[in-house]
């Protein structure tokens, strides 16, 4: 029997030809927010990563036995050197060119640094290796006076830092990246992805090389030719990846955007005309920024759990200080105290040109109701304790010991972070236990009348100590569900020495198989 499928009517997205070309803040009710992406292409990153270049420079890469030119700067290109030549050819054509081996690590690091630098334009920046950056500029262009002005500003600042940079803006990330490479300077309006994509050559879309070659053999040159083909045979012949790449460029499938940093919930920023070099200046700026941030938090009834300070240096690098808080807070004085110590790690050198203060993780924080004696005092005390632990935790290890349902001494109390809630299981530590447990049990020697009798004398740190009384043994069987199978059982004795010292000693192993003795704790 044939099954009949009932296909739901396909919803047509509102076509952008009817919408205004300049997508200003969308009217409420529009269910698909038009995202905008700015892609940056850095064609000479391979050269720039190897250091400053004033003369003709080329970067080569070993491709099997062949040394191949990877990138050339403008001066070298003028001499006739071009990428994909062999290094020997290039040196024959232009002997004056300085050859440098490729440094992929430096390149990656430089791209990462530039990505962090680009966080000044938008909180959402993704790396597009090997030579690209992708900025989600949805909604931020208004701050820079329009998309064209933003693009110009990004590119000119990159050029100021000595990078050759091309850029484009489009409604999807892959399309923007393709445009930045193939048609730099383009600003493609949202909704017209198809028109923007059509004139580009196939390689602009980073299609795998074998697929590209096969498509070329079919006589397809431009992406427009590809889009005109029926989808099903294309997918059948070249795999779903090609279709996915097309869909992502057209905005019909969502392209992943691996943002370098999570977008902050709140942030405040200050830029300086004169770079900030002295610690005093940084302190002064922070003392103004922190209350601003805390005011934002207070207005929305939230407290922050993670505070990030980003200091952008004049040379295009960025330094970050991340503060985690045990309990949400919006107390500017407390935050300033926590930051104070960490600010020493900043290296202004030539000065910071911009400081960002971001509240990365926030949670609801109710304001304290004053005038309610009982509850308010308790809440104030809790907050004071949390602040104390935060302060101590910035510098020293701080923890609590939580009881655990185990009888094995080392596992009876477990370190937990200082804000954890602690509950004592019923019947826990019902037997006499020492109040000091040595982290490393100290080996001792023991004399007893009989092999399995309680000890009469013990030798600890080179001295013989008389035992005047002993209680035990108390046998501890290893917990097989946690321990390694060959762990010996332990017999613990509580002994009192002649001077009254009360110790907890144990025999590891049975009495008749050469046991070892340890001092493990001290009673009060």
């Amino acid at each position: 029997m044939r099954r009949r499928f009932c296909r739901p009517p396909r919803l047509e997205a509102p076509s952008a030809s009817e919408a205004p070309a300049q997508a200003l803040p969308l009217p409420a009710g529009e269910n698909v927010p038009a995202r905008r992406f700015l892609a940056i292409h850095l064609p000479l990153l391979a050269i720039e990563a190897t250091g400053p270049a004033d003369g003709p420079v080329l970067v080569w890469r070993a491709n099997g036995p062949r040394r191949e030119v990877l990138a050339v700067n403008a001066a070298a290109a003028a001499l006739g050197v071009a990428p994909r030549q062999s290094l020997a050819d290039a040196q024959a054509i232009a002997p004056g060119v300085q050859p440098r081996p490729e440094e992929p690590d430096a390149e990656r690091a430089r791209l990462q640094a530039l990505g962090l630098w680009a966080l000044r334009f938008t909180p959402l920046v993704a790396l597009d290796p090997p030579q690209g950056l992708l900025l989600d500029i949805t909604g931020v262009e208004a701050l820079f006076g329009g998309e064209a002005a933003l693009l110009e500003r990004v590119l000119s600042s990159l050029r100021r830092h000595g990078h050759a940079a091309l850029g484009a803006i489009a409604g999807t990330g892959p399309l923007a990246a393709a445009l930045a490479q193939a048609a730099p300077g383009t600003i493609a309006p949202s909704g017209q992805e198809r028109a923007a994509l059509a004139p580009l050559l196939l390689f602009a879309l980073r299609i795998p090389l074998p697929v590209l070659a096969a498509l070329r053999r079919l006589g397809l040159e431009r992406l427009g030719d590809l889009l005109a083909q029926p989808r099903a045979p294309l997918a059948h012949r070249f795999g779903a990846e090609l279709i996915l790449a097309l869909d992502r460029a057209l905005g019909e499938a969502t392209a992943p955007f691996p943002s370098l940093r999570p977008p902050p919930d709140f942030h405040v920023t200050r830029e300086f005309l004169e770079p900030l070099i002295a610690r005093g200046g940084i302190d002064a700026v922070l003392s103004r920024l922190l209350p601003l941030l805390c005011q934002q938090l207070e207005d929305t009834g939230r407290g922050l759990r993670r505070l990030v300070l980003r200091a952008h240096r004049g040379d295009g690098t960025m330094q970050e200080i991340v503060l985690g808080l045990g309990r949400s807070s919006r107390d500017a004085a407390h935050l300033a105290k926590l930051l104070e110590r960490r600010l020493d790690t900043l290296e202004p050198r030539f000065g910071f040109e911009r400081l960002d203060l971001l509240a990365e993780i926030t949670e609801p924080l109710a304001a304290l109701q004053s005038g309610m004696p009982g509850a308010a005092t308790q809440a104030v005390e809790e907050a004071a304790l949390a602040q104390l632990i935060d302060r101590l935790g910035q510098r020293l290890p701080v923890w609590r010991l939580a009881p655990r349902a185990s009888h094995w001494p080392e596992r009876q109390a477990m370190r937990v972070e200082p804000f954890a809630a602690i509950e004592t299981p019923p019947g826990w530590a019902a037997r006499p236990r020492p109040l000091r447990l040595l982290r490393k049990p100290e080996p001792i020697e023991v004399m007893a009348l009989l092999p399995d009798a309680p000890p009469r004398r013990l030798r600890w740190r080179g001295h013989w100590i008389e035992v005047s009384a002993a209680e035990g043994p108390e046998r501890f069987e290893p917990e097989w569900w946690w321990d390694r199978p060959d762990r010996p059982l332990r017999d613990y004795y509580r002994v009192e020495c002649a001077d009254g010292t009360r110790l907890w000693i144990c025999r590891a192993g049975l009495a008749d198989e050469a046991p070892r003795w340890f001092l493990h704790g001290a009673f009060a």
Binding site: T377, V380, E381, E382, A384, L385, Q387, L388, I389, R391, L392, R395, L396, P397, V398, W399, R400, L401, A402, P403, Q412, A413, P418, A421, I422, E423, T424, W428, A429, P432, R433, P434, L435, R436, L437, L438, R439, P454, R456, R461, V467, S468, A469, A470, E471, R494, V495, E496, C497, A498, D499, G500, T501, R502, L503, G521, A522, F523, A524
Partner: protein, 227 residues
């Protein structure tokens, strides 16, 4: 005389000591409390405890008792804080109230202690350290007065303990004669500002949760020998 002393104490700390919610001293045991000028271990002050043995178990027990009786959150600061909750609960110190801090450098330890003493949410703090200088001790004393917490300095006994900034100085040594799991101490009050010293044989009665003065009790049966 007592009223005069109290007046002098008030004058000494005029303006520095804010009104704390908890002003009552930490009680130890009736016979000890009546010797102490405050009627117990005074809060908002520093107390020095000398432990006589290598592991100073007895002194730790005494500290645990004071921390437990201080009533609130307590901090345990030391180079290697080896406090063990299963033993501490026997003195009434609930693990939920205990926060441990490891400070391997003396400067860090002093800073942590000062911060802890200044915090109004901390009822007592213990610093286990080999010894602190006069200036550092004075700082801690001021911090304790400002914050209202009870500070304990735990250190090893030495023949010349040096000048003291703390309000009291105690020497706690274990006393032979009980069962190995029972706490018997010889508690010496070496120094007490504005009060007399003393020396008591004390025993911790876990079931009743009280410290007993053995001198005022009938003699206990002779101790057992190991068989």
């Amino acid at each position: 005389m007592a009223t005069l002393r109290r007046q002098v104490a008030v004058l000494e700390h005029a303006g520095t000591r804010p009104d704390h919610a908890r002003q009552d001293p930490v009680p130890l045991c009736p016979s000890v409390d009546q010797v102490l000028p405050a009627g117990g271990l005074a809060r908002a002050a520093l107390h020095e405890i000398l432990g006589t043995t290598a592991l100073s178990g007895a002194a730790l027990g005494f500290c645990a008792l004071v921390l437990a009786r201080s009533g609130g959150t307590v901090l345990w600061i030391g180079a290697e804080p080896e406090a063990w909750p299963p033993g501490l609960v026997r003195f009434g110190l609930d693990p939920a109230r205990l926060v441990l801090v490891r400070a391997s450098r003396p400067a860090d330890a002093l800073w942590a202690m000062e911060e802890a003493l200044r915090c109004p949410a901390v009822s007592a703090a213990l610093l286990a350290s080999p010894g602190i200088g006069l200036t550092a001790g004075r700082r801690l004393m001021l911090a304790a007065e400002a914050g209202g917490a009870l500070g304990l300095l735990l250190r090893a006994d030495s023949p010349h303990p040096g000048p003291a900034v703390a309000l009291t100085r105690w020497r706690i040594s274990p006393r032979p004669g009980g069962a190995p799991s029972e706490a018997h101490w010889q508690v010496e009050l070496l120094r007490s500002r504005g009060g007399a010293g003393g020396n008591w044989p004390l025993r911790w009665n876990e079931a009743a949760g009280e410290l007993l003065d053995e001198a005022s009790l009938p003699a206990r049966p002779v101790r057992r020998r190991v068989g």
